[in-house]
Amino acid sequence: MINKTVKNGVEAVSDIENGAVLLVGGFGLCGIPEACINALLQTNLKGLTCISNNAGVDDFGVGLLIKQRMLRKLISSYVGENLEFEKQFTTGSLELELIPQGTLAERIRAGGAGIPAFYTPAGIGTHVADGKEVREFDGRLFLLERWIKADFSLIKAWKGDTAGNLIYKGTARNFNPLMASAGKITIAEVEELVPAGELDPNQIHTPGIYVQRIFQGDGYEKRIENKTVSK
């Protein structure tokens, strides 16, 4: 088996260049690549494009990259939880592209799967359709949407092996498997890294072929955005 192991986040992100396009996994603060984000914060990178479902919060997740003014553009489905974003957006230093969440997911999946474009009903009749081809199939209208790919995908899994095979936990899976497939270089950080052969092949969510680098992160904070409990 091919060994994809690197030492840590710093080594994993060391060849990312200014202006790179990054896919960053997670939904809210759940399943985000904390170690890679921390490693990025130790660089002087500028002008990055970040494609991530959310923008984190002001002091965690993708929000930290915004705060350190490393991003030129953000492509997300919802950025409501981030206030710092608003400041940079209104001064024009940060561009925002909003994409319906399902379309975002499917465009990334298409990028990984070699599908350059597909039709979806989401956004018909709305400003999302502006400038896009509309076409009728079976009596309904659909929009043409293009694939999304990136220079690097930064993703987070629960367990991984040295061959790059990944298993996620709970709803921390979310965008991570799709993004794994759509990055030219996919960097996976895991809570537990095991030798190839220790994970059940039948239970692997992301086959190792999609992962170019893997490392075990440490000190995961896993911050909860909204703590809700039963009374």
């Binding site: 997911a105 965008f175 911050r223 909204n226 809700t228």
Partner: protein, 222 residues
């Protein structure tokens, strides 16, 4: 006039056994509290879960298990987990039987507007556009009027639209309405103590009132 809780209660009585349901935030999220116990339904969360359970006990909060509102949740027996592409394949593919969403405006031909706008900025589209375009049955739960008293049931939406001709039924604090194929809000039921005149006055779009409109019955399933 119904309280939010009562709107949710009224909607709960429409839910059928065996349905897969998407509940939006706000009033829709309350619907789960008022379902008759014998009903077997499954709630989907767009971030990758079928079978949303109640909020967890304080000691069982798992940061790796949240709903689309980023709240800690639990699973039920028979839950399944999947990725975001699969979650929206389910939605787009019409596998969800019923979506219940809030709205800022609904037009008489069933268009809907519910962008999340804060201080003039559209801050997100989320998964709503995929949901309303999926062809699944779509119920709207909302107040009949904005806080300033202007109607949310309009001839045309004034705000940017999130979906066209997608709404089947609207549940407000004043009544229950269906969208007629030719356009128009057909009044089906009125809230206890609310007159047809009041509903007429508070509905900007075409209101259709035919035959006797009975007061709704509310069963407390709490």
């Amino acid at each position: 006039m119904l309280s939010k809780k009562q709107i949710a209660q009224r909607i709960a009585s429409e839910i059928k056994d065996g349905q897969y349901i998407y509940l939006g935030i706000g009033i829709p999220s309350l619907v789960a509290n008022y379902l008759p116990e014998q009903l077997q339904v499954v709630f989907q969360s767009e971030n990758g879960l079928l079978g949303i359970g109640p909020y967890p006990e304080k000691d069982n909060m798992d940061p790796d298990l949240i709903n689309a509102s980023k709240e800690t949740i639990s699973m039920v027996k028979g839950s399944s987990l999947f990725d975001s592409a699969e979650a929206f394949a389910m939605i787009r593919g019409g596998h969800i039987d019923l979506s219940i969403l809030g709205a800022l405006e609904v037009s008489e031909n069933g268009d809907i507007s519910h962008w999340k706008i804060s201080s003039g900025l559209i801050k997100g589209v989320g998964g709503a556009l995929d949901l309303v375009a999926s062809g699944a049955k779509l119920y709207i739960a909302m107040h009949h009027c904005h806080k300033d008293g202007t109607s949310k049931l309009l001839k045309h939406c004034k705000m940017p639209i999130t979906g066209i001709k997608c709404v089947q039924k609207i549940f407000t604090d004043l009544g229950v309405f269906t969208i007629l194929p030719e356009g128009g809000f057909k009044l089906c039921e009125r809230a206890p103590g609310v007159s047809i005149e009041e509903i007429k006055a508070k509905t900007e779009g075409r209101l259709v009132v035919k035959g006797e409109i009975k007061e709704m019955e509310l069963f407390d399933n709490e």
